[in-house]
Subunit: 213 residues, 2 copies
């Protein structure tokens, strides 16, 4: 398999964790978002929507959207699972994943930050406040959702799931803007547990070939 | 089953379509977002993250996040399916769904529009431009993704899927801000096909008990 991705991209990071959890080898193909490589012809041939990551399967199929890719990996390589076996547990893990991927991350990606700067003429300070607001606000909701679930090592139970694959990159992203994580005790305990797991460590930005620090 | 939702909420509309496609009866419990009912104690007891919709199962379980709910409905009530049977097809439908639910809709929900107005002091005109920008931009990506798939009546094949459940509410939302849909031929053909399907019609905002027109 091949993964078109970018070291700092949160959605790319999610898929890298999933691949590492499952022990699946893959070719790392960097796409430099800040240099705009995702919008160039070469990558547009790979991804119609010019978003990273894209997974290229061994059969040459090109798959986009990180949660869809993780579900695909889970269906085609079931062990170890990224989702519980029961429908209710799966719904819980998907909802936690989507709380990150639909409520927090979309507000803070590169093209949105660019719109704030160039179209809305928002100051750097107000942009950073925006960033921190949505991360903090979203993770407070995550903390509240966790509080209603049985306590485990990870977000859902004692093995990492797709929810953890979404949570960890979001925590990393928020740190870049010095988001305050005070009081998010259970969420941060899950984060710390994840970072002790080799799959999460191998997948983190600093350990990627295109890392720029 | 019970559905806590709001007639105009896009995420609520998605789940209503899914329930109608599957012919599942449900009790409609309105939560008035504009009046802030989702943030009041009564609803916070239902949804930790105070978001709509919430599905209450017959067993009393409370499930959040529209895509997670649709997947749950598909797993527990498989016919007619909202996702193809093969992993690749499922990945395609999930990616299309997420292109709406992760790339467009989060930027335009009520709390984001409020932040633009109150924190960033953005004018009504600039806010409407922001809204239209993300809908148009996202649907252009949707159109490009569709162009790489075999042509069918709906987004993926000749039966409605979760992707259509996401697409149709997004088209409705964009219309409220007069988004230009010119040139999105295939996407709009899918939309028109969906609106001829009784499930989509029954689920639309104007046909809900809390509709305010």
């Amino acid at each position: 398999m091949k993964l078109y991705n970018y070291f700092r991209s949160s959605a790319s990071f999610r898929v890298r964790i999933a691949l590492q959890i499952k022990g699946l080898p893959f070719e790392y193909l960097p796409v430099h978002l800040v240099k705009g490589e995702h919008k160039q012809e070469k990558y547009a041939a790979i991804s119609a929507s010019t978003l990273v990551p894209t997974l290229e399967t061994d059969g040459g199929e090109l798959l986009g959207q990180s949660m869809a890719i993780m579900e695909y990996l889970d269906e085609t390589h079931p062990e170890p699972p990224l989702l519980p076996r029961d429908a209710l547990g799966r719904a819980r893990v998907r909802a936690l994943s989507q709380l990150i991927a639909c409520e927090i991350h979309p507000l803070n990606n590169l093209r949105v930050l660019k719109y704030l700067t160039h179209q809305l003429k928002v100051s750097e300070e107000a942009k950073a406040d925006w960033y921190r607001h949505w991360v903090r606000n979203g993770l407070e909701l995550y903390e509240k959702e966790l509080a209603r679930l049985p306590k485990g090592t990870y977000s859902y139970g004692d093995t990492p799931t797709m929810a953890d694959c979404c949570l960890v990159p979001q925590i990393f992203n928020g740190r870049r803007f010095n988001t305050d994580y005070t009081g998010l005790d259970r969420t941060m305990a899950v984060f710390e547990a994840c970072m002790k797991h080799p799959a999460f460590d191998k997948a983190q930005p600093v350990n990627q070939p295109d890392n720029e620090g």
